[in-house]
Symmetry: D2
Subunit: 314 residues, 4 copies
């Protein structure tokens, strides 16, 4: 399906698009609520595109490594589905976008039965962390890490301890969410143990190459691009991609669906994972965020590319 | 892309799927808030599938005609886009799913600047009605009707006057929404005039064949299936399909994306418009609604078909 | 109970207190949402105190006449109680402060059974207007006017037609509230007819002397200060005073209870009615409002007086 | 001011009123969310009235001791005011009733600047606990206990360790509130340390006699009924009584103001503290709660008494 001319066009035009998009960084700023993230270079922008046929393009500030943050939630969801099945997962998290901020507690209080609306908002991702199989936080974290290492093919992937510690010590809102969930009997486990797992997977450090590789596995319906082996059941990847369209870009997901039209997930460190079904996995890093929590320049770059290549799934 | 075997399978299996799905009707009931709709036969279920190559399948209670209700909102959105452009429309309605009921007013009060979150909830669709070009309600309604007649190819299509009158006399919540929008300066026009347009397009009476035809035009990116003529700009169809995925099934849209995975729009008379991109337009009628306002049996039937034929866009 | 020395102190000190309080007007501005009110002199401040023994003090800009606005709601509540009894009234409005803005619709949507929380917020006062006995809006309005004329002893009291017309043509939020109430089946009557009554009693034009006289009747438990005749049943006055403490000053009522400690009701034209039980009725006018909708200088003046004279009921 | 005949009437009629009120217990149930409270006898009802002149009446199940729960919040507020002054306290908690449940988090998220609306809802009382002077939780708790012992004159007063432990291990919602407050920077201290203080003062065990004595001190403007010594500054007692009227009975405070008209504070163990200004302190225990969290029989008994004796402050 991929045409040589498209790959050539991308190779040729991306440097220009990247510089044009980078300029939009001034309209945002790195996340400040996790102190460790505030130090990121505000105008950085890098992209890696991994193609199903094994080719790869990398432009801009791709040397930067950054923490996955919410991008990790797509993969803990996949692992929870593999561990608990659809029924086990959807008994505890819903399937709907919320229209509220990613750390909002309104619907937990207002909408019966008080389960998180979806697995990509903070409340939902915390519940998902609790559903990962494992007797201890360390065992759960180990399994998550092993999953990421398998998907990326990088056995050295691990969390950034400084970011993890920074998050753990300042995540009062997440603690508030977790205790609310425990009060609603959605979370049975010890709150600090669940959050420990959550903070660790959010703090996994990666590069655009890693993200592109993760995205490519999803683009291929769960198959390893090199070997064709089914790493994740296709049905679960389908579920993940649905959520990425309806809730992947916080409460700017609708806008992203209209303007870019690709399954994607952003993180507050400035990363974006996006995919062109069957064809490409894309990793973007751009630390300056807009008020919705998405990389300003990253979204701009993806929009430019999607329009130019007519990638929207709609 | 369509294989003969799939069409044959559909032809053969649909009668059975339809009867199995029909049984789910007992878990719902026809809408009661518009008195005229409460009389619909609760266990009716009918479906029409129109194929891009001109073939058509019709099963079940397809003789029933019903009012479009919210299904019409997809097309008034398209017409408003054709009349005002993207900028003109999105200055007054947002692009995000809400997670709230379709007639909720919470976000109008809570979220600045108080514009409806998307064009498919009631508040948004009322604003869209105001954006249709025309000096008078009659002129706007005339243009909407002409648009529907062009898309369906049926010059006799018109609204059901009894349903329109029933809605107009009981739509206190919609009046409340409209006056709130006027107070927020999102709506400048006379409220009753805007609502008159709104009630009329919601009351347009159609059959599954009409819905399937409308859906097929969207499935073909705005092109007339017979002539290939571009009836609606492809970009606007893309926008409409994005909204159908993120907000088309009220606040069960996320679940529908996961379980069915097709752009769709439901109406409280029990109709559902769904499409398989590039291939099929589908019209379903099943008046018994679940608590989210979607046809119970209709959703079930679409899920069965989508799973069997692997139609999900994800 | 009133001591001569207190009256002397008031006579002597009030001019100074008034000028000191007037300076606070710069921290507010006349209401702008009813166009006709925006023209009021921003730094005006006037006060009348009517004593149970027939004496009266008047200082400052008491020549100004202004519309009662929300102050009228205390008296329509009394009339509705006289017309329908406690049970008839409290079937349709609650008894609780809301913590929300006076025109908020949140609780109508969120809290079953969707009746207004109290009769002094807009939603509640609109319902109260519907409970006034009378076959027509004119008859209801006539009875309200007669009630005000009896209490004030001024047969010429009437509404300001310009303000009424200004409110009627811009009150989209009130229309929104009223239609929501109708949808919730709290309001059965024609919305425009109920609002017509509501706008007229809000637009009744009065002076500080009128307000002080109205307040004195309440201070005396419903008795005419001159004749001792029971104009309003004492129990209903008790109810009204309870509401004035818990909800009389919009969502700054709690603060007013703590800082001033007197039953009071404010209006967005800048008027405040306050009372010292058994002793004084007070009318204040100061058009510059704070962000809660209360007269900045008026509240300041009442606080100064209450502290100096130890008037708090707590 | 107290007439002999009123005291005689109370002595004579109270046994009957008490039995009539007790019957209302069937319309409620003991609190279940703190496991230890669920064991209380559902139809118990007891009352103590302490008079300013030293007399005391006790009827019904006054042998029962119960935990203060929210009743304690009035006194931690007083102590915080004595420790930090009005400015120090009201920088961190507001003065307004909320209309929401006592453990609601809605307004913390929705209303800037995210401080609790008043000191009697859980969020507010937790902040108040943090404002009590003391280097350690033990020191704060010690000072609170000393304050209660001074006011009641009972040096043996202390918390019920079983209830405290029960609360501490199940109070997920309070932890959620506290972490939200910490995220909003309203709470700076360690959450578990603040909650430790909070759980201890909520678990102080008392009888109706204790409550009546506490109430009498408030009824006398902060003075010791025996010695006339000013135990609490009168201004702070005034503030506390204002809050008791506007927010003392959870979100049934408005109804209580209208039907009973006395400053009061209830607790979920079934206790109610009420006072008749200048005259009586009243302690009531009745474990069966209505859906607002107030003692069903206790409220009924207070209403009967207040009506019969014309005690309403309004």
């Amino acid at each position: 399906m991929m045409t040589t001319s498209e790959w050539d066009k991308l190779s040729e035009r991306l440097p220009l698009w990247l510089e044009e998009s980078r300029r939009h960084s001034v309209n945002g700023a790195p996340a400040s609520y996790i102190p460790e993230l505030a130090h990121a270079p505000a105008d950085a922008l890098g992209i890696t595109i991994a193609s199903a046929d094994g080719r790869q393009l990398t432009f801009g500030d791709c040397g930067i490594s950054f923490t996955l943050q919410s991008i990790s939630k797509v993969f803990t969801l996949l692992l929870a589905l593999m561990d608990q099945g659809e029924e086990g997962v959807f008994r505890k998290v819903g399937m709907e976008p919320t229209g509220d901020d990613f750390n909002s507690m309104l619907k937990l209080e207002l909408v019966e039965p008080g389960i998180p609306f979806n697995p990509l908002i903070n409340a939902g991702a915390i519940v998902i962390s609790s559903l990962i199989r494992g007797q201890t936080p360390a065992e759960k974290t180990g399994r998550i890490l092993a999953f990421f290492r398998e998907l990326t093919g990088d056995p050295a992937l691990t969390w950034n301890e400084q970011v993890r510690a920074s998050e753990a010590s300042t995540a009062h809102r997440n603690r508030s969410l977790a205790y609310f969930l425990k009060d609603n009997r959605v979370l049975d486990e010890d709150v600090e143990e669940v959050l420990d797992v959550y903070f660790r997977h959010c703090s996994i450090e990666a590069t655009c190459q890693h993200i592109a590789k993760l995205a490519l596995v999803l683009a291929l319906g769960g198959k390893d691009p090199a070997t064709g082996r089914q790493l994740v059941p296709r049905r679960y990847v389908q579920i993940a991609k649905s959520f990425m369209i309806t809730c992947g870009m916080y409460n700017a997901s609708g806008e992203f669906a209209i303007k870019v039209g690709l399954p994607a997930k952003s993180g507050v460190a400035g990363g974006i994972l996006a995919l062109v079904p069957g064809r490409y996995g894309i990793g973007v890093i751009g630390p300056a965020l807009n008020d919705k929590g998405n990389s300003v320049a990253g979204v701009q770059l993806l929009q430019t590319m999607s329009e130019a290549c007519d990638w929207s799934i709609f």
